[in-house]
Amino acid sequence: MESIVLAIEGLDGLTLSVMAAAAAMIFAGIGSAMGIGYTGQAASGVLSEDPDKFGVMLILVSLPGTQGFYGFVAAFLIILKVGLLGDVAAVTTAQGLQILGAALPIAFTGLLSGIHQGRVCAAGIGVAEKKPEHAMKAVIYGAFVETYAVLGLVITIFLLNGIQI
């Protein structure tokens, strides 16, 4: 335990901030990538039978992609916060840890909601295949899962906004 504390103390605030931005992007990005992986596979199966259904399924396939963008938004906010694009701010270890903590809500909600939204939308592909006129109903189910990534982003934005550097 002591060694962990020492290791963290050894890290400067900027390194922790970079880790925070990376975590937000990586986890939310993985969630989206896996989600789109599920929907893409399901949609390709349908396309092999009926290529004309491409347009109908496009929304369902792309829906789990949003979490990756939320992660990107959070990462960009962190980059702006610590001035990585211009004058780099002096960030203490405590502030770095705060930023890392602020990145976690979107990182984890993005990761898990992306995966589960992918599963819901992949099931929705079945609806789009059999009853294309009802495909948007399946999209709305997918949106329910995304709610938690949205809430994660809300909290990340407010936590970052509250951290004074």
Binding site: L63, V73, L77, V150
Partner: protein, 639 residues
Amino acid sequence: MAISRVLKVHIACPSGVNGKVFEELQEWGKLEIFSKKEVAPDDSGKIKHTILELEFISGYLKNYKQKDSVWKKLNEGLPAVSSSQLQKIKKTTDVRKDYEDIRQSQKYLRLIHDRVEDAKHRLDQLREIKNIKLSGKNLTTKKTKTLIVRASQQAAESINQSGLMMAVEVSSGPPAILAVTFFKKDEKKVSGEIENLNIHIFDIPADKTPSEEIQSLEKIIKSSENEIKEIHKKIKDKYLKKSFDYMVLLDYYENFFMRETEYKKALATRYTRVISAWCPDFLKEDLIRLVDGLKAGCHIEFEEPSEEDDPPVILKNGTFSESFEVVTDLYGTPSYRWVDPTPHLSFFFAFFFGLCLGDAGYGLILVGLAVWALKSFKISASAIKFMKLILFSGSASVVAGVLTGGWFGDALDGVAVIERLRIINLMESPEYFLYFSIGLGFVQVLYGQLISALEKIKRGFIKESLYEDFSRILFVIGVSVFMVNSIALESAFLGKASAYLSGLGLFGILFLSGHSAKNIFLRPLKGLGNLYGMTDYFKDMVSYSRIFALGMATAILGMAINEISKQLPAMAGFIGYIAIPFVLIIGHLVINLLMSCLSGYVHTSRLQYVEFFTRFFEGGGKRFTPFRNVAKRVNFADK
């Protein structure tokens, strides 16, 4: 602006003129025919056969036709056909004959195609042994027989070691071509041996050498291919030019089939047939005029739908609200005896979408695209509604963008006019946007409850309205004002007033809202359950924070795209400068605009369905489906 009143109408006509009346009613296309008589469509009748034949012809001719581009379809819409054109097409087209002819041609083409494939396969084999100058006849003597085979080295050795055959190499491999000779008397044994050795025996015709056979096969292929070309040319010349006629006839016969099916549903006596239908109340006079104008001796009678009836639902809204019927349709059809949510959700939908997108630049693009599509393309009525939805929602986004200073992210930050119009800076004070979003939730949730309360009063359920809806409204307002006052305002008057309101609401929920329970001791228990359900109201309001999150995501992503393009020259020098327009266009239009529109549409819809509709919506209605000519491929202009 609501659900239209619908009447039951019965039109009794002499049997002789009934077909004509049906035709006229189908052309008019404003009635939904109903019948207690269940009649299955006659799938074995002559008309159905004609439809199937036309579908076959149209499908087959698609192989010869270039597909019309989406652009062309949007620009030109469905081609118009006058009734004289239709009559001419009907007169000059013998569907049965054309079908038979095309079907025969298709069968014959398949035969020739198989013949060519067979010949090509044989040709491939014979080319391996083209140097053998012997025909099948020459390979057999009185006592011996010779086979030409393709075999591996190992198989060749096995043949020679068998003692039954002798193999001589004709051409070297691998695999080698061998002449295998054996005595006719050993033929059975040899066959068994050869089967085990996995070798290929070439089939050489009795009276031709391989090279002669190759020549004749090449001739067959060439003549067959010419034949195929001829048949394709014949189909193209004879039928392709008539493909439009087939489309016209397909639409005509499909509508005819629909009419025939509906016709059979009408109740009939020996001399009379009665058409029963649902008629929109506002078209009652038009229908009377139409039937009188036919001078067919028909009698028409209207009646109000009874309590047991389940009339179809017609949504009738103004230009603004009707664009949002697509949102209602997606959820389901409201009950005929309740309220149409479309006019109530229309403003909220446009406004919330505008806030989710929250960028004036993107909003202008949407408005431009919608206006362009509406002006330039010939699109269906539902597509027009959707384009108008984009137009109104895009306009709301322009307003939201102007007020938050969002123009393609932060591209125009610092411009004097933009700064003067901006009333909130999302990056500096995002919390106000969040409070505003939750405040919108408060307004919409209460508005939904108010719709329920007023609808109940309108229908005479005054007790239900006061006990169930108004007590909830008072409680939510009281608690919300109390919370805001305690955190921010700290006004003694508001504190007291909100406490009274909450208390009144609480009393109503606990002791009155359970009034429907027959057992009076159960009523407070039911009220307690209703009080627990009040947490949903506050949970739902928090759900509106998604408007904030999506609006912020669009703004920050836009900023990021601008920042990346600014950094490009420093990162990649001259190439960086060239890449800037691509990054800006792809980033703003392809990524941010598309993604934000998708999220905005989906999440705004969800707010209507889950948070708003649950307060007052009653579904279970069925949409009015008029008996009319359906224009799938062509538009019958006179009709």
